[in-house]
Amino acid sequence: MRVNGIPNVRTCIAPLKEGITVEMQEKLAELPDAIFSGEPTKTLNIDVLIVGAGPAGLCAAIESATQGASALLVDENQCVGGQLVKQTHKFFGSKQERAGTRGIHIAKELEQELQNLQHQGKIQLMTDATVIGYYESEKKHRFGVVKRCEYQSTLYDVRCDAVVLACGAMENMLLFPGNDLPGVYGAGAVQTLMNVYGVKPGDRVLMVGAGNVGLIVSYQLLQAGIAVDRVVEAAPTIGGYNVHAAKLRRCGVPILTSHSIKEVYGDGKVEGAVVVRLDEHWKPIKGSEENVACDTICLAVGLTPSTRLLSQIGATLEFIPEAGGYVAVHDASMQTSVKGVYVAGDASGIEEASTAMIEGKIAGLAAAIQLGRSKNKKLLAEYRNELSQLRAGPFGEKPRIAKEKIAKHAEVHHA
């Protein structure tokens, strides 16, 4: 989409203003020459650049700055918090990970810590800004950052000794006829609409996917007064926690395992869907089709790590199915194959917010140690221990396998 003549804008997070022009864009667009004219590029020298102000990035920035490294935190959204700002449920984990606190409140607590460090001049924050690329530089890492402000954009030339890429992930899409009809959403988009913007996405929802995201968002839909017709899950068992499934079931929402969505139909918008039962080989069983009247399809079928910047930097990527796709190979300090380039949170392999926060702390602290700003290796060991405890149970198996595979690749590349 093109907004005010600027191509490739994510309209879903672009602020709505009086007189704004939003247009459909045909294929690749050209960057208008005039966009950065009039204002010179500003140069910023800092110790650590953190890309993404979700749970991982916030914790990385706070940790780096607390340890004495100067930090710049950049996020493309208007506010910090990433996915936390729509997570109205209470978090699991232990006291250290703020268990029992709702995601929205964790976002507020972290924002407060960030503001305290900002007042002390230890962190600079740039929201509504995009890191557009990595550039050649002899000694330092160098990034182009576009900061938007009303209708003007400023280009920053950011030079840093270390960078933490906490860019998060993108929701997966599912292939079926009618998946381009208005009313087919990702679960994250539905959560943003209702919990951040206060907009009802529809009146009757079919949820696809019974992992924790699908179960939690279904419950939040009910809390918003929206009917959830059923949850379908292709796997033979429910992937998310039983406590989340039980909450939905006692509200009367059926969860059908070994079921999937076959197609969505409707005239210009979703009017219903056909679901189908799957056999033990995950193949649709003929004659098991069932019609579901609904106006919204919500897809909670996993996430893919955002690795575009990592790829441009030249960090070694490997395809790890348990991590959700291509991820940057990294060591136990979250450092990638490129010295001074760290990764944390979903960008380093799909997991959840509690572990993302600890990974952020590890990356932020390791970067500060690398730059000679801190010597606190004991704290680093404590964070690593916390992380392995959270992954010790059966639900931590997938990320545990992912991280073991990543560690093996890191050893090979190191040797």
Partner: protein
């Protein structure tokens, strides 16, 4: 494969069940049977009745020690703790509730079981707020005490 992994619904045989005597004083039923990394219930218990081998182990309640204070009900992030008290033909179930409109003391609500089926009416006898979670106590006939796990407030 356990049945609840397919359906999401726990049955009584999946749970730690108190004796009749323990139910008479009122105890917390922990409907949390999987190994998930979570332990706020342990910290919330004033008499250290709830314990856990490690953060991933399912919590266990020492029903003799439990005083049925309901503090854990509003703390559990999984909304999976219920305090049940049975005396003669009457029972009281304390459950977490996160919907609007909020239940009011003295009103009659629908009583729902683990599958969401309405099994009868219940009288709201107490509502306290722990953060944004309502901790609601309902009075109902004793035969339903181990089945009723949700309410519906009719508007």
């Amino acid at each position: 494969m356990r049945e609840y992994e397919k359906t999401g619904i726990l049955s009584l045989k999946d749970l730690q069940i108190p004796t009749k005597k323990q139910l008479e004083k009122g105890v917390a039923i922990l409907e949390c049977v999987q190994e998930i990394p979570c332990n706020p219930c342990v910290d919330s218990c004033p008499v250290h009745a709830i314990s856990m081998k490690d953060i991933n182990a399912p919590p266990l309640n020492d029903f003799d020690r439990c005083i049925g204070c309901t503090k854990c009900v509003g703390v559990c992030p999984g909304l999976a703790i219920f305090v049940v008290k049975i005396k003669d033909d009457k029972a009281w179930v304390t459950l977490p509730y996160e919907f609007v409109p909020e239940p009011k003391k003295g009103t009659v609500v629908k009583a729902l079981d683990r599958t969401g089926n309405v099994r009868g009416n219940a009288l709201v006898t107490k509502v306290i707020k722990q953060g944004k979670t309502h901790v609601v106590t309902i009075e109902l006939e004793s035969g339903l005490a181990m089945d009723i796990r949700n309410i519906r407030v009719e508007v």
